[in-house]
């Protein structure tokens, strides 16, 4: 077995709350190595004066390098150990090692792991470009032939070397900050590429994981002149086989308001609203197509289209599953249909901008 660069103990073992007014740091990092995760955890006892207790582990950080090598072997210990929660979140450390990412002190949440989890949760809910993948989902995806894993990444903005010092949380703008970055796309448990911005949101649209977000559209001369706030979104994926080739249709429904505009338009006119809805639909369609094409290029079905085919055509799937990611998925025909509704326009009808 190879030596794993260990991801976990540092996150967990030192996570003591700052209490009683002592000036100590809220967390401490320990690193230990071993041929297996369990060995590394046991070896950590040489440095830590407590028993490592994994029930409260809520974040696992994997370094980019390990992700490229493959993450498939990491999770057995996690799944087997009754202490460990498979509902824990998982992220990839982008451009840094997991240790570097875990050694940044954060200002609002004292425990950096919590900062990451909460950031992830809120950005997922408000913007929809990141997913809060849980360990259990990953393990499940490993068992499915027709779905690949996608995990959010985090990176350090600023100077990471200063992040480990307490001064980092004493300034108004910390010199090292943690921020959510691209989506990591996996294939057979190996990191094969990244997706960001609209592409990343396209993935979430299909996965039915977008809760709220905003979509900007061009109107007339004004580029990105109107902002549509999605309040609810729902996606359905269906599959058909035509001459043995899959045709995937994605239907997305969104509901929302107009949240900002730079154009002078009378929103009391239903006809205009319908025009706007059409524009929005095209915009979302574009994002979805972009995301699917990007994934098709990487030959990794992160959307689970294969599982849809599996559910609809269990007989045919038995043959298709072996070559799904390399043969069928990159060639799959895609139909996207978006139904967007603008329900309200906020507290004003027209804008003051003329």
């Amino acid at each position: 077995m190879s030596t794993f660069q260990i991801v976990n103990p540092g996150n967990v073992a030192g996570a003591t709350q700052r209490g009683g007014g002592s000036a100590g740091l809220p967390v401490a990092l320990y690193t230990s190595t071993g041929d297996t995760l369990v060995e590394a955890s046991r070896k950590a006892s040489k440095q830590i004066s407590r028993i490592p207790y994994y029930s409260h582990t809520n974040l696992v950080v994997i370094g980019e390098e390990l992700a490229k090598e493959g993450i498939q072997q990491i999770f057995d210990a996690v799944e087997r150990n009754p202490q460990f929660r498979p509902a824990a979140n998982i992220i990839i450390a982008r451009k840094q090692t997991a240790k570097q990412l875990s050694s940044v002190l954060t200002p609002i949440d004292k425990i950096p792991a919590n900062q990451i989890i909460k950031t992830l949760q809120f950005t997922k809910g408000l913007l929809g470009e990141n997913v809060d993948t849980r360990i259990r989902e990953i393990i499940e995806n490993f068992s499915l032939d027709g779905k690949e894993v996608v995990i959010s990444s985090f990176r350090i903005a600023g100077d990471w070397q200063k992040g480990a010092e307490q001064d980092n949380v004493r300034t108004i703008e910390p010199s090292a900050r943690l921020r959510a970055a691209e989506l990591a796309v996996f294939k057979n448990g190996k990191l094969v590429g990244w997706m960001k911005n609209e592409e990343a949101r396209g993935v979430l649209w299909v996965l039915n994981k977008v809760k709220q977000t905003n979509v900007n559209i061009d109107w007339g001369e004004s580029k990105e002149g109107l902002s549509y706030k999605v309040m609810r979104a729902q996606a359905k994926v269906k599959a058909k086989l035509k001459d043995g080739n899959p045709i995937i249709s994605v239907v997305i429904k969104t509901e929302g308001d107009i949240s900002e505009t730079f154009i002078s338009m009378d929103f009391t006119d239903p006809k205009q609203i319908i025009e706007l809805e059409k524009k929005i639909q095209q915009e979302i369609k574009k994002e979805v197509r972009k995301a699917v094409h990007a994934a098709q290029k990487k030959k990794s079905d992160i959307f689970g289209f294969g599982e849809v085919v599996h559910r609809t055509y269990p007989e045919e799937w038995k043959e298709m599953k072996k070559t799904w990611h390399n043969k069928y998925f990159p060639e799959a025909e895609l139909h996207v249909k978006v139904d967007s509704f603008i329900r309200r326009t906020g507290l004003r009808t027209r804008s003051y901008i003329q």
Partner: protein, 370 residues
């Protein structure tokens, strides 16, 4: 037999707890993958057929337990041999369930406790209950019936609120056709837990209103079958077929998925309660049947005198039957099914019923001839 009587309601609740017992927590019939709920329902329907055999036997001898009427049916000697086999079977299954229970607790809650300690504590409780008699066990079942149901309903509601259920995981239905389902039915789900109702042939005679056996028994069987099917379907809808088929206790993993509003989480204790309540009644009923059967067979007036020696035997047996969990499960699925469940749950009761019917016809003819 002791002097005691229980109501139909108590019998119903006892049977429900018994059926849920360990079946609820173990990966029951998971070889059927996402169709396991179908396998359980099929097992239930066929189990209903078995229960009907036991019920018919009971109607011929409504005042006697299995160990007594076997003597009436096939004669004193063979009847006694059969009775002894059944007593040993009940005690052995009690030991098996006790082992199950200890292994489960050890794996996830008490990793540093020796198995023997856990089993001892459980067995002492069971021995005490059996010492007190069937009425006490039945009354306890009334109490725990509601707590178990509350837990099940609470868990069910919470898991739905938590949004962990994805019914698409149950698809495709019948991916491999009916064959694997029937394979699972005839190797697993029919016998555990439905065929195990055979043990109630020792308890039916205590029923106050004997005509209600049918209703209480079948209602309990069908209700538990449906409940178990829902539980397993839920496990799969939350975890996916692959995880369920690989886990030692799928229900525990399902409960761990409950995360509501950032504070309703880590509800493993619900699983613990269900496991302990279910384990207690399952071991209790089997052990009681074994003790009563032995007392009946060897004509011991006070069956209580057998509780401690047999209890300690069951306890030691539960430790001795297997050296590890894998061996224990393997024995349970293969050896016990072929050499114990099939003959003792199906073949012998069926033959007994056949002989009983023939005898009845013969006496009818003789009566007419007179």
């Amino acid at each position: 037999m002791e002097r005691a009587c229980i109501s139909a309601r108590q019998l119903f609740m006892l049977a429900i707890l018994f059926e849920h017992g360990s079946a609820m927590v173990i990966p029951l019939g998971v070889d059927a993958k996402q169709d396991v709920w179908l396998a359980i329902l099929c097992g239930m329907v066929l189990g209903g057929g078995l229960l009907f055999i036991y019920y018919r036997l009971f109607t011929y001898y409504p005042r006697l337990p299995l160990t007594s009427y076997s003597q009436r049916i096939v004669g004193s000697f063979f009847g006694k041999v059969l009775g002894l086999i059944y007593v040993l079977y009940f005690l052995y299954i009690a030991a098996r369930v006790l082992r199950d229970f200890g292994e489960l607790l050890l794996t996830f809650a008490y990793p540093e406790t020796p198995l023997f300690i856990l089993n001892t504590v459980m067995m002492l409780t069971v021995m005490y209950a059996v010492y007190k008699g069937i009425e006490v066990i039945a009354r306890a079942s009334q109490l725990f019936f509601f707590s178990l149901y509350w837990i099940l309903i609470l868990g069910f509601v919470l898991i739905i609120i938590a949004g962990a259920v994805d019914l698409r995981r149950l698809q495709p239905i019948l991916e491999e056709g009916w064959e694997p389902i029937f394979h699972v039915v005839f190797t697993q789900t029919l016998y555990v837990p439905f065929g195990e109702m055979i043990v109630f042939t020792m308890i039916f005679p205590y029923l106050q209103k004997q005509e209600k056996v049918m209703k209480a028994g079948f209602l309990a069987l069908f209700l538990s079958g449906i409940n178990l099917a829902i539980i397993m379907a839920m496990n799969i809808a939350v975890l996916g077929a692959d995880t369920v088929s690989r886990s030692t206790f799928p229900l525990l993993n399902t409960i761990q998925e409950i995360r509501v509003a950032n504070f309703l989480e880590r509800l493993d204790v619900l699983f613990m309660i269900a496991l302990i309540v279910g384990g207690f009644f399952k071991v209790g009923v089997f052990f009681y049947a074994g003790v009563i059967g032995a007392a009946d067979l060897f004509q011991i007036k006070e069956y209580q005198r057998l509780v401690y020696p047999l209890g300690i035997s069951v306890l030691l047996l539960s430790i001795a039957i297997a050296s590890n969990f894998a061996e224990h499960i393997k024995e349970g699925l293969q050896i016990v099914t072929i050499y114990m469940h099939i003959p003792l749950q199906i073949v012998i009761p069926f033959l007994l019923l056949l002989v009983a019917v023939l005898r009845q016809q013969k006496t009818d003819k003789e009566n007419k001839g007179r």
